[in-house]
Amino acid sequence: MTNRELSPSSKRMQHITALNARTANLDPNRVRECKEAIWNSYEAASLVPQVTHIVKERDMEVTGFQSIGLRHLIKLAEFNASDYYWGPYFSDVGRAIASGEQRYLQERIQKEVEPFPQTVSRSSPDFSFIVKRIESLIESDICPDTLLAPIELFVDFTKTLWPQLDWNSGRPEQLVLGSTRLKVFWSHIYAPLNSFLIFNSKAGVWRCVPDQDTGRLITVALGQSGEHPDSVEYWVEALVKYEIVKPQAFFIINLSGEPRESKTCTISHFV
């Protein structure tokens, strides 16, 4: 069988294996540090284990998988140079994959679940309405445990619901309503959100194809490029598919009104 005839998954694995094997001209400590930076930052930033039920799949030929990844070239000389600090860069890469996952998760839920007709006003938000909806879900035995929230209302939300937020339960903070606790995750520029998403984390399945070598949720490959020998290629990817298995356990409340101008202080505040 020629390379041209290989299935997409075989071709992918072949490329990853070859890339990881071409490290003879790379600083081995730097390769290790860069991979650890990716894994550490990804695992610290990923919402997935906290807000979904994870199922590892071996067969990526199943349709509907999404690629959430980065694949780039870096000059080999710069990669090996002792006066370059690559740790922060590869830490950003791991976090970027986690952000991509959050964005994909939010978009999937928003696509599958019809939003509630009532909205939360950006200019004068009333969060009591959200609390009431959560309480009604609890009464219906839905047991919501997750709240994905738009960062633009962070200040208003925390100010209003301060007594009901537990800041000492580790990260993230939790919204406490009676005996029910919801982990609160905030959106950001790489995972924007214009709604509150409330759901039970067990009501959706996160199918992913793990790394063939490490079994981790993301595949990390790094080595000298075959096509561009003066460069280092990295390939970091999550292959995932999110499926909602219990739609009634999800609830969306959109924001209404114009987004606020968020910049409120100026350079004069520096000392």
């Binding site: 860069y89 950001h188 505040h269 000392v271």
Partner: protein
């Protein structure tokens, strides 16, 4: 890659510290940075009376800082506020320089950004060294510019 020549001579530094046991060191850092003619933002000194704390801090980190100096002490892991500041910085791909004191454990998401591990009595001296070379250090920190958008796997990676 940033060019050293284009770096602002007045780098703006947001100083992140745990309130419980980091304020003294944060003040020392602010003084050192000011003496070196950088702009330093430390909540203790720089907050605006009546302003919403987190709106002000978020804006400062996101829009008005070139680099975040994260002073890591033994209470940093438990500090919700410092964790929030780190989140703002990392989510906006800010350059972060971590200085860990007295063997303090650096939060996992910041381990790759740990620049210096020092004892308390060496902090002033070490930070003086960092301050002197701040533009060079900042320039050498590589930063990702791309964002990640989910795509179909076949077209994205195997075409």
């Amino acid at each position: 890659m940033p060019d050293l020549d284009t770096q602002s001579p007045q780098l703006r530094v947001f100083i992140s510290y745990p309130t419980k046991d980091g304020l003294d060191k944060a003040k020392q850092a602010a003084n050192l940075l000011k003496e070196a003619r950088y702009q330093a933002w430390i909540w203790y000194h720089s907050k605006t009376v009546g302003a919403l704390t987190w709106r002000e801090i978020a804006n400062c980190i996101v829009y008005e800082s070139d680099v975040v100096l994260y002073i890591c002490t033994s209470s940093s892991q438990q500090s919700w506020g410092q964790g929030q500041e780190a989140g703002y910085a990392l989510n906006h791909r800010k350059k972060v320089i971590v200085v860990a004191l007295d063997g303090a454990k650096v939060p996992v998401e910041l381990t790759a950004r740990c620049y210096e591990k020092v004892s308390s009595d060496q902090f002033f001296k070490k930070l003086g060294g960092i301050t002197t070379k701040l533009p060079e250090i900042t320039n050498r920190i590589q930063k990702l510019d791309d964002s990640v958008v989910p795509t179909g796997i076949h077209s994205a990676n195997l075409g």
